[in-house]
């Protein structure tokens, strides 16, 4: 059996209301668990980029990428290993304000982890940390004993080391017309 690895699948698409469902159905049909799923408009106006992280074999990720690319409103699909991308994720940690002053150690933790305080008010304060999964996880563990009111982590955002050339693809179409 081939080894499973983390793959970051980048899907460039038209702006379409149902596309999220169409893409997730491709994974559901194959019983593949999605590790994370984020989407935003990309560097080209009206073109969206989905970033989907999955743990799969290379053979399977190839097949899934082709099935995604087959969808009418998908412009292009790429998949990369962790080494081939620059990726980050963000986490927010909400804590009681009193602990910031009573537990002096918290300030050291924040400083050492290169996190930042987003907001402080009389009841609570919020820490933000951007980095790799290990970084946000470590901070979680460090803060856990002081009582976390809320914790949330974003999906992965990533850019690839290789060029993706979406504008070129779109221009080719324009020139054909």
């Amino acid at each position: 059996m081939e080894n499973k690895k983390n793959y970051t699948i980048s899907v460039y698409t038209e702006n379409n209301v149902g596309l999220l469902h169409r893409l997730s159905a491709i994974f559901l049909k194959r019983h593949i668990n999605i590790e994370s799923f984020t989407t935003s408009e990309c560097e080209i106006k009206d073109v969206f980029r989905f970033i989907i992280v999955v743990k799969m074999t290379k053979d399977d990720v190839q097949k899934v990428a082709k099935q995604i690319e087959k969808q009418v409103e998908v412009i292009r699909v790429f998949y990369h290993t962790d080494n081939e991308t620059i990726f980050q994720e963000s986490a927010l940690y909400k804590m009681k304000s009193s602990s910031l002053f009573e537990e002096r150690h918290i300030q050291n933790i924040i400083k050492e982890s290169n996190a930042r305080i987003v907001t402080v008010n009389p009841d609570f304060f919020v820490i933000e940390k951007t980095g790799f999964r290990d970084d946000t996880e470590k901070l979680y563990k460090d803060l856990e004993e002081y009582g976390l009111l809320q914790f949330t982590r974003s999906g992965r955002i990533a850019v690839s080391k290789e060029k993706m050339g979406i504008s070129e693809i779109l221009n080719t179409f324009k020139n054909q017309k």
Partner: protein
Amino acid sequence: MKNKKISGAEAVVHSLLNEGVDLVWGYPGGAIMPVYDEFYKFQDELKHVLARHEQGAVHAAQGYARSSGKVGVAIATSGPGATNLVTGIADAQIDSTPIVCITGQVSSHLLGSDAFQETDIIGISMPVTKWNYQITKASEIPEIFAKAFYIARSGRPGPVLIDITKDAQFELFDYKYSKCKGIRSYNPFPAINNTSIDNAVELINKAKKPFIVWGQGVILGNAELEFKDFVEKSGIPAAWTILGLSALPTSHELNVGMVGMHGNYGPNILTNECDLLIAVGMRFDDRVTGDPNTYASQAKIIHLDIDPAEINKNINVDVPVIGDCKESLKLITKKIQNKTHDKWISRFDDLMKIEFEKVINSDLNPVKDGLTMGESIIAINEYTNGDAIIVTDVGQHQMVACRYANFIQSKSNITSGGLGTMGFALPAAMGAKMGALEREVVAVIGDGGYQMTIQELGTIFQLQIPVKIVVLNNDFLGMVRQWQQLFFDKRYASTEMVNPDFVAIAKGYYLDSERVKDRKDLKPAVERMIKSKKPYVLEICVEKENNVFPMIPSGASVSDVRLS
């Protein structure tokens, strides 16, 4: 029509007419009534056929698309009307049939309110459509319809669903239609790579024991002539998948039969002996490959397909040739050497002799009193001169019909292949007839599947659609019973059926009908049916517990094909 505002509903009709549609299948209901009101006004230009169930309408649209090569259209209301289309849509998706389904939807301000007959048909149909879209403004109608037809028919065809809210059907707007010429995120005609053509040619010229397996891609690509040229110049024996059947005439000397679970003995055994397998417009379905790990593992494989996602999906191939096979076959044929493979082909002949002795002879020339499905099909061949459109359902009768029916023209075999939808044949046959009025259309259906959509006899009666319906009745869900016999120690769980009087039911619909049980009556009855100019139901009572062989047990290698 300039400067005159029209309603969304009227725009639907004009858009259909602009796409060359002259026939739609459907069933009215609340959320689609404005469109039906326009059907009433435009009944001279656009014929609407009322099915008896939305599933009947969508299968009819499929049958129409398969026999005519045009896009079939089915229309239904929201909620249950829409969900009843889903089986047909899924069937069209897996069998690459170009259809456009139109559903009514509750008014846009009611979306998400659980209004009467509201259902999320966009969400439900998404995984089984090539594309779908919900229209909430009349102004979207022309562009979305143009896109829908373009997507349904281009590249690898498939089903498209358009959901239209009721308020969009009433809304007035300035209608202007232009056909879709392309979509920037969609490339239905991938360019053919010259290197892959050269690599394919080199393998073909070198091969000593080459073997072609073709599928429906040859038919969908209108590439029957190009395919025949390729087969004849290369001299390579060619076998078909169930959906590829009829692309090359049955009598062609290089047509060696069917591959797959109930395919012919030779093509299955020799799949695992050939040195080169050339797959044309087929997708290595598990019913074709058996165990994929042992499938043609000794051979180099060339795969011609228009859909890049099919390459290396089920079977890894050596030379993929992505593109329209009408083009790629032409390029390959031009460059290959003229050859014959007599010695290799004699292997197919030898194995056919064995299959004849062990299977075919008793299917077609039975010694027992009971009629067989095989001799019924041969009788149909005889009176149709082997040139009918044969529409089959799913099960034993389907395999027997595909094995023994004779085909001269392409687009003549219509069946539910990928999804295996029981209940497909009766409505698909009426659609097929409307799509090819000059052809004889014979539906061959088992007693199980017949009763799943038997209500369409009403449609056939009302329109007097002259389809010939043959019910091969063994009082069993025969294929499941066969598996129970072979793999579940004859525990016949819920497969025996106590059937109604099928002749009486047909007569209840005022259709001509008769039943045969004895051999001496078979041919005269088939002759009367074929000579009739009207719809006709012929029930043929066949042996209850006959089995279909050859057979590759599920998961076994193709070369482990069994003859008994």
